[in-house]
């Protein structure tokens, strides 16, 4: 087919947009809305609020509302009209290691007027985890009044996922085979898929699970059985059991984890210890 055949004149007037939206094809400039009058909506809600939302890779949006009661409670004055809004980047490391003190890094600060307002802030942090706070500065010290929600979650890179990792989606049963994939055995892929499928919101556990995956190269049937048990334990809502599971996974890591049968043995030890009220070696975590 000759390309010349598809030369077009282009569409005049409004044209169409590559980032189109179905409604844009239907809306007419002459559209009118015959309902007279306007709807009344609240100006504010008398609720202490600060919310941060991402706009794009360089900008965030923050809105806030501070009640008089909050100002009285926190700064003993309801007359304040000027505040500071700060934005902090949350270090990735803090997401996976609670034990060390990774402090938040201030990446933006501005003065704002009013107990109720909104700002757009330029923060070139490409969807890094962030949080915002509003407060007041007195004698050179920032007194925080409210802390916002956190936006963005850490990039998966920090959790150690390698490019070679493949997994099956949840659409398919595990029995399905697609033949050998270079760099990974079928068993490994199955394990990876299962572990990823049960990924917890708890990044500490996720980090450990992924390190475990990296250590596991060859699994025996017994190992697979152990993994089933881990999955069962993982489904428990019992925080104590989950803590023990973390310790168990850590002990796997310490022992280099992964050669045939080792997981089953370690898991047996783990169960025994948790049943008998003892502690996992070196963990200091008691039942």
């Amino acid at each position: 087919m000759e390309d010349a055949l598809i030369e077009t004149e282009g569409i005049e007037k409004g044209g169409i947009r590559e980032d189109g939206h179905g409604i844009a094809f239907l809306v007419s400039d002459t559209s009118g809305y015959p309902i007279a009058g306007d709807y009344e909506i609240p100006v504010k809600y008398n609720a202490d609020t600060i919310i941060i939302l991402p706009v794009n890779e360089k900008k965030v949006y923050i809105y806030w509302e501070l009640t008089e009661q909050l100002l009285i409670d926190k700064i003993q004055s309801s007359a304040a009209a000027s505040f500071k809004v700060r934005i902090y980047e949350i270090p990735h490391a803090r997401q996976i290691d609670y034990e060390k003190d990774y402090s938040e890094k201030e990446i933006y600060s501005t003065e704002v007027k009013g107990q109720y307002g909104q700002i757009f802030a330029e923060c070139a942090a490409y969807f890094k985890p962030m949080t915002a706070a509003i407060g007041i500065k007195r004698d050179g010290v920032f007194h925080e009044l409210l802390k916002s929600n956190q936006i963005n979650v850490p990039s998966f890179r920090v959790l150690g996922l390698k490019e070679e990792f493949r997994s099956r989606g949840i659409l398919h049963k595990w029995e399905q085979n697609e033949g050998e994939v270079i760099g990974q055995t079928e068993t490994e892929i199955e394990v990876i898929s299962r572990l990823l499928a049960m990924k917890s919101k708890d990044n500490e556990i996720t980090g450990l699970l992924l390190r475990l995956i990296e250590n596991i190269r060859y699994l025996s049937d017994e190992d697979k059985e152990a993994l089933e048990l881990i999955i069962g334990l993982f489904g428990s809502k019992d925080v104590r059991v989950l803590r023990l599971l973390i310790e168990f996974l850590r002990s796997l890591r310490i022992k280099g984890g992964g050669s045939g049968g080792s997981i089953m043995k370690l898991f047996g030890d783990f169960k025994e210890m948790s049943d008998s009220g003892g502690t996992i070696s070196g963990s200091g975590i008691n039942r």
Partner: protein, 540 residues
């Protein structure tokens, strides 16, 4: 030997617009025009495939607001009136242009077409468009996927995670109610994604979704096969991303197929061209001119002296363009396959309303593309589920936050003009969650107070969901239908707060509630408990 796959997706969505308080309401015509020019003509082409014994594969996302409007008795009654009025106009037109053979040819074409579409709708589909989609879905040729409950822009609703979950929970429930099966996939409203959304989707049984190209290309780690293979998220959901090349060939305003001189000119419509005395019964009763769908001219070229439209020549041009599109895919697949361990996948998502309404000949183009691919057997058209059955093993990545809006992120839906909306949406979601928790264990009996409380709480959820529709923020940014979009947003915020206030003070106005239930009637079977943290469906 198959050299690649083509995955066409048509996203069908319109916001819920229903104004029984007016005999004629301009914005209700969005639905009628889309039905008359896009949804029904597309289904008619699929029926033609069936009649000819041609196999095909197509994926359509039917958004819950659209689905709810398509089964709304009031709106479908108006749609029949709309078709009748247009058929009457086309008959008048045949008389008006009887001495102009070029125009008469077009008028006769429209009259025949309008009658065929109406017959298809009332006869074959029994007045329910969903019957057509279900028919092809049952045959395994059409994969129907869902969308957000009211097309809420999920990354900006997540300040209240329950609001995001409710959008997904209600969407999947709506899909099941109307199609009798669970939705395997979702078209994320505006293709908008944020990290962690896949976890919520998984809870509701969603197995795959679509992203804009950069949502996958900027993933971590970088996908080896770019957008030419599915990838899996951490939660095991498959992700398909747009192939930019196929999009450009159809979307581009300058070099895309729809701009061909032989195709119908969108703007030259008799609703604007003819004397008001003649056209008045067919445009807005307040005298505003509107598109009628009767357009006599072809694009012709960069001139105001347009030539008459020739439906046969245009139809033949779609064959040429389909041929070009297919041969371009063969070349593309050849070039890509050398660097891949599997045949490349080319994903082509389009707004359905592009085909037929905007690009009048779009359904014919699609028909010829699918026909040619089926005959040539070089590129295989697939549905997402079919592709994943061939290639279940995919690279695991964390997709990047993205949308298909201008500049690729969220700014179309969050800027100086529409940022004010989110404060209200977040407050409403928070208040709804709190009150849903409080009344979660309320008995579902016929006792008057309980029944009334439930109706109020259900309607509050409807008002919140309707306010969340991304269409309003989009239109405000585009500065088209701005007044309507502003008022719709404010209307639902106002309704929600009025209901909340009256509920708390035990002063519910029954007439007001009844009116809202009738007018904003989306999701008849909705239960306010969807917003509660106690809801098993949501928390498990």
């Amino acid at each position: 030997m198959i050299k690649g796959y083509w995955l066409p997706v048509l996203h069908c969505h319109l916001p819920f617009v229903k104004h029984p308080e007016y005999d004629y309401f301009l914005e209700e015509h969005w639905l009628f025009e889309a039905l008359f020019e896009t949804y029904l003509p597309l289904l008619m082409r699929l029926k033609r495939f069936e009649a000819d014994g041609v196999d095909f594969r197509l994926t359509v996302s039917l958004s819950p607001p659209l689905v709810e409007m398509l089964v709304d008795e009031y709106l479908m009654g108006l749609f029949i009136r709309y078709m009748d009025r247009l058929t009457e106009l086309s008959q008048k037109e045949m008389n008006r242009v009887k001495n102009d053979s070029g125009m008469l040819n077009v008028a006769e074409f429209y009259n025949k077409r309008f009658i065929e579409i109406r017959t298809f709708f009332t006869g074959e589909l029994n007045g329910n468009v969903l019957n057509g989609y279900k028919h092809f879905s049952d045959k395994g040729r059409l994969e129907i996927i869902t969308c957000g409950a009211t097309h809420g822009f999920l990354p900006l609703l997540r300040a209240n995670p329950r609001a995001v979950e409710a959008q997904i929970a209600i969407a999947t429930q709506c899909h099941y109610e109307h199609f009798g099966k669970a939705a395997a996939g979702i078209w994320l409203p505006e293709c908008a994604y944020y990290e962690g959304l896949d976890e919520i989707l998984k809870k509701y049984g969603i197995k795959y979704f679509f992203l804009e190209s950069h949502g996958v290309n900027n993933a971590v780690p970088k996908p080896k096969f770019s957008v030419y293979s599915a990838v899996n998220t951490l939660n095991g959901l498959a992700v398909f991303a747009r192939d930019p090349e196929t999009s450009k060939q159809v979307w581009s305003s300058m070099s895309g197929y729809p701009g061909d001189p032989d195709y119908r000119d969108f703007y030259r419509d008799i609703g604007y061209d003819l004397e008001m005395d003649y056209i008045k019964p067919y445009v807005s009763p307040d005298g505003n001119r509107v598109f009628t769908g009767l357009k006599y001219y072809k694009i012709t070229g960069k001139t105001e002296n347009k030539l008459p439209y020739d439906p046969v020549a245009a139809f033949n041009k779609t064959k040429i363009h389909a041929g070009h599109f297919c041969s371009s895919r063969y070349t593309q697949a050849e070039a890509l396959s050398s660097a891949m361990d599997r045949p490349p996948l080319m994903v082509s998502p389009y707004d359905a309303e592009l085909f037929g309404h905007w690009w009048f000949e779009g359904p014919d183009f699609l028909y010829h593309v699918l026909l040619k691919l089926q005959r040539d057997k070089i590129i295989k058209p697939v549905t997402p589920s079919e592709y994943l059955s061939y290639h279940p093993m995919n690279q695991t990545v964390a997709p990047s936050p993205s949308s298909w809006g201008e500049n690729g992120y969220y700014e179309v839906w969050l800027n100086n003009d529409n940022g004010w909306i989110y404060r209200h949406l977040h407050f409403m979601a928070g208040a709804m969650e709190k009150i849903a928790d409080e009344y979660y264990d309320m008995p579902d009996d016929a006792q008057e107070t309980n029944a009334l409380n439930k109706r109020v709480l259900n309607q509050m959820v409807r008002e919140l969901l309707l306010a969340q529709s991304s269409d309003w923020a989009f239109l405000i940014t585009q500065a088209t239908a701005t007044e309507y979009s502003l008022k719709r947003t404010k209307e639902h915020i106002s309704n929600f707060n009025a209901l909340l206030g009256s509920f708390k003070s035990d002063t519910v106005n029954i007439d007001f509630l009844k009116w809202l239930e009738y007018k904003n009637s989306i999701f008849k079977n909705l239960d306010f408990r969807v917003f509660s943290g106690k809801n098993k469906l949501i928390t498990d």
